[in-house]
Amino acid sequence: MNLAEGVQLVSFIILTVMMLGAALAVVLTPNIVYSAFLLGAVFSAMAGLYLLLNASFVAAAQILVYVGAINVLILFAIMLVNKREDFAPVKYAWTRKIVTAAVCGGLFLLLGTTIITTPWAIDSTAAAGDEAIYILGEHFFTDFLLPFELVSVLLLMALIGAIVLARRDIIPDGDALGDDLKLPEKPRELVSAVASSESESN
């Protein structure tokens, strides 16, 4: 093992431990704000692993999109639904956790044996490296042109759909506005969880 491989192995171990530890903490910490920040640590460690895999453009995209957009979006969502509530205890919650942990452990063992026993056809040609961004551009505008355009349409649809779903239905001071400035929607009643659970019990 020469020096470069040693450095690669050590950074892989550090990044993987950081990624898996932060992911476990995301799932297990009781405070949702901490888990949102730890999710950013997971995404940053993933970007480091992409750099180890000779993909600098995708690492930059990972930082920009995941840490810069999705993580901030999740933090804003946490602030908007910031309600400190103690969830009502559910019967047999520990059974659910134990069964889920067993299923996930079994899934990991299954995937692990498959990964280790499969004879991978490793291609030993030199990796694209910094040329990767040119090759990616060629792919996007030749053989992956249709998916590329469809993704742009999908992003537009998601943008409009998110606005439509998250918009408030009524403007609070609707009377102060003229009639032509009002949104033509009826105010909906608040369907509270308490009322529905009472009606269920009746």
Binding site: Q8, L9, F12, T16, M19, L20, V26, V27, I32, S35, A36, L39, M46, L49, Y50, L52, L53, N54, V58, A61, Q62, V65, Y66, I70, L73, I74, A77, I78, L80, V81, K83, E85, F87, A88, V90, K97, T100, C104, L111, I115, W120, A121, I122, D123, T125, A126, A127, A128, A132, H139, V151, M157, A158, G161, A162, L165, A166, R168, V191, A193
Partner: protein, 101 residues
């Protein structure tokens, strides 16, 4: 450095995501678990792209697509979550049984 290390790390991350998806009570944490699973799949694609297809790198193309679709999914999912919170006044997954029966 071997392909198997990356694949094992991705499998562990995917299993953590599945565990969080099933056991979380808070709906925001469920969305975070979905992001973890998508990242595990991305790591798989990138490892295959580097070790099995290093000259043509189709795996990186798929990773870019998955990243953009994950962004769309996060936006729409959080919008749905805000809408549910406004109607039901809670983010507890156990209370979201509007379509159950």
């Amino acid at each position: 450095m071997q392909l198997q290390y990356f694949l094992l790390a991705a499998a562990a991350l995917f299993c953590i995501g599945v565990y969080g998806l099933v056991t979380s009570r808070n709906a925001v944490r469920v969305l975070m678990s979905i992001e973890l699973m998508l990242n595990a799949v991305n790591l798989n694609l990138m490892a295959f792209s580097n070790y099995l297809d290093p000259a043509v790198i189709r795996g990186q193309v798929f990773t870019v697509f998955v990243i953009s679709i994950a962004a769309a999914e996060a936006a729409v999912g959080l919008a749905i979550l805000l809408s549910i919170y406004r109607n039901r006044d809670t983010v507890d997954m156990e209370q979201f049984n509007l379509l159950k029966w």
